[in-house]
Amino acid sequence: MKTSRWLYFSVFLLYFFLLGPFVIIFIAAFGAESTLAFPPTGFSLQWFARIVETQQFIDSFWTSLWIGLGATAISLMFGIPVAYALVRFNFKGMSAVETLFSAPILVPGLVIGFSMLNFFVLFGRIEVMTGLLLGHTAILFPYSVRVTSVSLRNLDPAVEEAAVSLGANRLRAFMLVVLPNMRSGIAAAFILGFITSFNNVPVSLFLTGPGITTLPISMLSYMEYYFDPTIAALSTVLVIFSILLVQLAERVLGLSRFI
């Protein structure tokens, strides 16, 4: 009995510290004061209206959306073949390749951002949008490889051989048999990749340029000048957006296992 009381208490503490800040932001977003306050004294939706009125947020939202979708798609286009090679073949230097592909997870984002700034902008003179796209593709790549590898590992290699023995060449066997069976892994990698890109600060910080910025960066710069609940309102919207996205993923992926 004593253990279970301690257990409840520690679970409560955990949730309190994890969710508490969200709850405060969520409530403060509906406040009437012009500075962020808790508890708020009145109720108002004006800060939500302010988001839509702020052109900076609208522009950067679209930038983030396109960068997120584009970078995820490109990273998967290259990540799936790499995952396939890592899972199906055994070659010299395989572990080196694996380590190389996980490097962007292990290296601090600021370091990646800074080196990309040097490489893309100063050295390569690449446009801001292209730089952002390439930078995000690079950080998403390891996720694409890892997540799709899991669904590949779960697919019996004999299935592919069966397709080949029935007359499909390697490429057709991959397209007709392997790829369709990786779809839940690909969908999961897509959602994870998109969220990672959408939330990224350290790499974007270095690669955004005049007139082009991502949503998290524009939120940061807004907060340097204003301390009204607009950011709280925007955060609330983003949290709800993320939850919906994950729910959707669960629906689609959960269902696909039974269909």
Binding site: A158, V159, E161, N181
Partner: protein
């Protein structure tokens, strides 16, 4: 008869200069089902996969119906393969699984429908065409795999331990079904298994393999009754074994001296061996109380009831022997005589 499948001097290396198979020769006649039998790592699966084209041999040739298959890509071989894991396409219906090979051959829709229905009928799964593999039992899945392999009218059928994932009762059913279909369609087949009973029951000929070498090729009866090597004898259940010196040979009967015993055993070789190993099965012996010809004396050290048979472990001067007696035979205790029939004592020369 012309060899239909002809494997000559096959050499396979997984690791450079370390052959898994070397100088391997095997021929299979048209319409024949040959089982490759052996423990894991004996090279039976390697042989099968070389024929399928999944392994590129380092040397040697593989021919099917006089056509050189050695360097032909696996998707051009028209070989039907049945895998241990069934290897059905999880995302396709049973119909589409079976139709896959026909679609790869660009056969018209109507023709595909007719052919798939026909083959599903053959394996008694006509009512399951719209299901997915996950909705089927293990036995049903393996029947789909069989249907998928035969629908393309393959030049050769390959089975890679197809029954290992099924329970004992289903295994016998599926075994009979595979054999029945193979004979009905007259397809030449190569069948890999590590299960002796399965190999004996399903095949026209058995190839016993060990460490990349063929130990013995023969009809199931010959493999079961007349093993030619110590490995085959041991693998086929000749659990009792002792050493003996040959005193004389008359046709296929050897007179032997094993310690104080003078015994007679069967020997199938043409040469005159000096020293042999003698093998016999637990059911090849009659226990009795009285001394007789061709017999050993022993002491019962354990009697265990096993249903149809009673197992005795008998200590003799030549080692402990395992003997099965019918369940209704009289009970033996302490001293017994093991009467050995000459035709069931198999002598094998020391190499």
């Amino acid at each position: 008869m012309m060899a239909y499948l002809n494997i000559q001097n096959l050499r396979v290396e997984y690791v450079r200069d370390v052959p898994t198979l070397d100088n391997f020769n095997l021929t299979v006649n048209e319409g024949e089902l040959v089982a490759l039998l052996g423990p894991s790592g004996c090279g039976k699966t390697t042989t099968l996969r070389s024929v399928a084209g999944f392994i590129e041999p380092a040397a040697g040739t593989i021919k099917v119906a006089e056509k050189d298959y050695t360097t032909l890509p696996p998707n051009k071989r028209d070989i039907g393969m049945v895998f241990q894991s069934y290897a059905l396409f999880p995302h396709l219906t049973i119909f589409d699984n079976v139709a896959f090979g026909l679609r790869m051959r660009r056969i018209q829709r109507k023709g595909i429908k007719k052919r798939v229905d026909e083959v599903l009928q053959m394996v008694d799964l006509q009512d399951y065409a719209d299901r997915r593999p996950v909705q089927l039992s293990g036995g049903q899945r393996q029947r789909v795999a069989l249907a998928r392999a035969i629908v393309i009218e393959p030049t050769l059928l390959l089975f890679d331990e197809p029954l290992s994932n099924l329970d004992a009762k289903l295994r016998v059913e599926m075994r009979n079904e595979i054999r029945r279909l193979q004979q009905r369609l007259g397809i030449t087949a190569l069948y890999v298994t590590h299960d002796q009973v399965e190999a004996l029951a399903i095949s026209d000929r058995v190839v016993v393999m060990n460490k990349g070498e063929i130990e013995q090729i023969g009809q199931p009866e010959a493999i079961y009754n007349q093993p030619e090597t110590a490995f085959v004898a041991d693998f086929m259940g000749f659990v009792n074994c002792f050493d003996a010196d040959v005193t004389s040979k008359e046709q296929s009967i050897l007179a032997l001296q094993a310690q104080d015993y003078t015994l007679h055993a069967t020997y199938t070789g043409d040469d005159d061996p000096q020293r042999v190993q003698v093998f016999f099965r637990p059911d090849a012996v009659a226990l009795s109380d009285e001394p007789s010809e061709n017999s050993l004396n022993g002491q019962v050290i354990l009697r265990t009831f096993q249903g149809q048979v009673v197992e005795y472990i008998v200590e003799t001067a030549l080692g402990n022997m395992i003997i099965y007696m019918p369940e209704d035979a009289p009970r033996f205790e302490a001293h017994v005589t093991l009467s050995l029939k000459t035709e069931r004592l198999i002598a094998i020369a020391y190499e």
